[in-house]
Amino acid sequence: MSTRYFGQPIKRNEDPRLLTGRALFTDDVQLAGMLHVAFARSDLAHARIRTIDVASAKERPGVVAIYIAKDLGDFWQPGPLLVPPPPVEQLEFHQRTQVPLTKDKVRHAGEAVAMIVAESRYVAEDALDDIFVEYEPLDAVVDLEAALKDDAPLVHDDLERNISARVAQTKGDWTQAASEADLVISRRFHYDRGTAAALENRGIVASWDAKTQHLTVWDTTQAPIAIRNGLAAMLGLSERQVRVIAPFIGGGFGPKIMMFYPEEVLLAWATLQLGRPVKWIEDREENFYATTQERVQVHDAAIALRRDGTILGVKDIFLHDSGAYAPYGLTVPINSQCTLLGPYIVPNYYSEFTSVFTNKPIVTPYRGAGRQHGVFVMERLLDIAARELAIDRVEIRRRNFIRPEQFPYNNEIIYQDFAPLVYDSGNYEPALERALELIGYERFIREEQPQREAEGERVGIAVVNYIEGTGIGPYEGARVTVEASGKVSVVTGIGTQGQGHYTSFAQVAAEQLGVPVSDVHIVTGDTDLFYWGAGTFASRGAVVAGNAVHAAAANVRAKILKLAGEKLEVAEEDLELIEGRAQVKGAPETAIPFGQLAAEANPLRGAVKPGTEPGLESTEYFGPERGATASGVHAMILTVDPETFLVEIEKYVVVHDCGKVINPLILEGQIQGGVAQGIGNAFYEQLHFNENGALLNASLMDYLLPTAMDVPDILSDHIETPSPLNPLGVKGAGEAGAIPVGALFAQALDNAFRDIGLETREIPLSPNRLFELVMEAKKAV
């Protein structure tokens, strides 16, 4: 296979439209007679609803309808469980999913109690002031440990305790390992909440056409096909009567794979009731409550080692905050549990988690999806172990790496895709060595750091490793067609939220078909154009849909060669496909344009051979046996102002292995964006809930996102260890940038304050928190 398109740093096909404001986003959809929706949301995190009075709101001019839970009749149903619990032996699971509008009590601040449909969003918001809800406030469940006390208030009254799930997984025998160890280190680690803060909030437009009996929904979802199927079932329609379009979306990051959001089912239902199109665009304030979030976990972890730094085992018992409902099952804590093992040989592992219901917004995967926590715990344990054993922190990692010849490597526990946690491939040491070289580790430690510290600077260096399970099943599909123009169309079922699918999928198809990338037209996220699929999540688009595109394009290539071979009366292997033409190798005068071949493959008159399929087209599906394991190393040099505790990242290095690279520019973008989000999570972003479950910083004034000023240039490099589990050899890259940044920050800070023995065991941090930690450490010295 030549590499004319695959692997090239080709500029993105979609960017001119995106950058000049000519791409369709959900809020761009304007329909005649369209109505606008606002939601009355609870200010309280936990309260029983006594009465809801909407009478005066209905009177307000411009208000068309107001719905509360009882108005929905049989349509009122808790949402589906999106991911069932995995087949793990020791498992307790209590399914409680979100409801369209709260009926009896509210379980988190911002939960919707009424839906207002009006002639404009302004009027709809005016009517919010006319709705009177009488609440009986209840004590809120906020802290995870307090939530499990015997006298804790209950988020779900019909459960005995606030336990959503409890899962234990075992590899080997931790107790034995600990008894044989020279050193056992035990620590408690905290990770707090953040929000994805996508540039575009959620939005939905739903339009029922009574004459054609057809429902069209534009939705900022990462999974349009599943939304179509669910809406049809809920509304009693045929799937063929429902079209869900996920247009361009300003960032997904996981919260937009959640389904069904209450707004998604309510908008679709309301347009059927009213016979007019309805639109709801989430505003930024709503986004802080109504869109899912992630990241509170508390880990009590221990590592057992031999004196030489060899890991004998790890034990980790942790609490996971699921928020008020758990529609996404156990994906996030299972990811934490599985990702903790990292690129290291951990012969004995005991991991047990309790997922806890709290009166906070719902938790579902957000870029990294629990992997951050696992990496943080393991990397911190290794840092502390290195210090205790007086081994260099890089060396202790090196000594425990899984070696290249050990793949596939079986970790003997179950991953989020219900398959055993088996790493398909990896080669960790070259990536580590390259990262050390790029950051200048040895020289920095030996020369630069002592010199700068002598001048009064606080400066630290950090190097951490991680792995990322990517590209999980079940499957995706793609249809590749050579059109009469000679250009190629590729249709796939997944949606796009900025990943560059219009280019990377085009490159995969172009590679097979020998057409310029700009001649490949991509359609994503329109259920009328592709029927089957799961969605864009878990760093799987390039792996799963990409390989489906590859397979379909390979079939079309075969069809072109067969037809052209017949026309030119030569063997197929003597042909080549160049610039949209099929020709005898080295004989451009024989070239037949694809358009001509496409027309001949689709005759309008005459007869074809029995069994002939029309056109130069193929549809293929790809479902991997299990996920592909990507890996990487991040390194950083960080300075801290010793007076103000502001930090500055001086240098940031990423060496990443996601197998074969489709487009290095797109990969670079994914990594840069991921690191930016990771930096936000590590040092800027934190959702502050008070003891009543009220969110204190529900605006971008007080919830600090990293800006261009806070994100450094990132020096990156790649190691290519192709995945054996898919023909393209690719692995996912979407989440890699974000995953290890917390662990990296913690190590760099500890290194900068090693003279006072700072030991950072929590993320996110802030100048204020760092000040407190340093003061405590100084006191202890």
Binding site: E125, D283, L704, P767, N768, E772
Partner: protein, 288 residues
Amino acid sequence: MKPASFAYFAPHIVEEALALLAEHGGDAKPLAGGQSLVPTMNFRLAQPAALVDLNGIDELFYIREDKNGLRFGAMTRQRTVERSPLAQRHTPLLYEAMPHIAHAQIRNRGTIGGSLAHADPAAELPALAIALDARMRVRSATGSRWIAARDFYVGLFATDMRPDELLVEVAFPDLPPRTGWAFDEVARQHGNYALCGAAATVTLADDGAVERMRLIFLSVGEGPVEAAQAQTLLTGEQPTPMAIRAAAETAAAQDIDPVGDIHAGPAFRRHLAQVLAARVLTRAARKG
């Protein structure tokens, strides 16, 4: 996040604006740059019945020299001050501090009078106005009066102005001879609200001792906070590193009583106040 409905007026002269304010009383809000008011209205935290838009009143946009210093029309954009050679010459402290105010895009719209009248305790301009002994001229349909900056601020987001009064002009006197100045602040991100800020002016006597000093903090109280005890402590002293350090410690320990918020607790705010006081006093004394 849509504002409640409101009446909108766009007067062209000050008298017209004052008549509207008199007519609507406390139900009307003057709209200057809108950088605080409009988001507040979008959150429906403010629901004024009427907005009196000052952006069309040309007579409120100016920077003029007079015999005592500079006069700024209340609608002068912050960006204009930032780029003004007059401001650089007459009010170098104000000029130097301007880039600390939010982001350039905000300063393009934000006005000097709007920020002064909004009285946000985290804002730079009120602290600078007190440090520089500025005076505010406020007008109503029935009269006009001057208020010294230090009397202008009376609490959280509160000024001495009545609802029918409008801030029309602010006068910044020239600094006395042998007076140094400095401003600094700590924000989690450039352009974000300061966790703490400090403005200082230090006038030295012929013998090099501190003859007069002003140290004003922002973001540590309900409004700008004058470090009165630190001022007393350092006045009459030689501004040695030790004396400045003592003044900074006094300022942080005794002159302020900061409350915590999600970005900084009281202890960190005091710590920053001490760090910033020492920094600005050192720089100001060196320039004096």
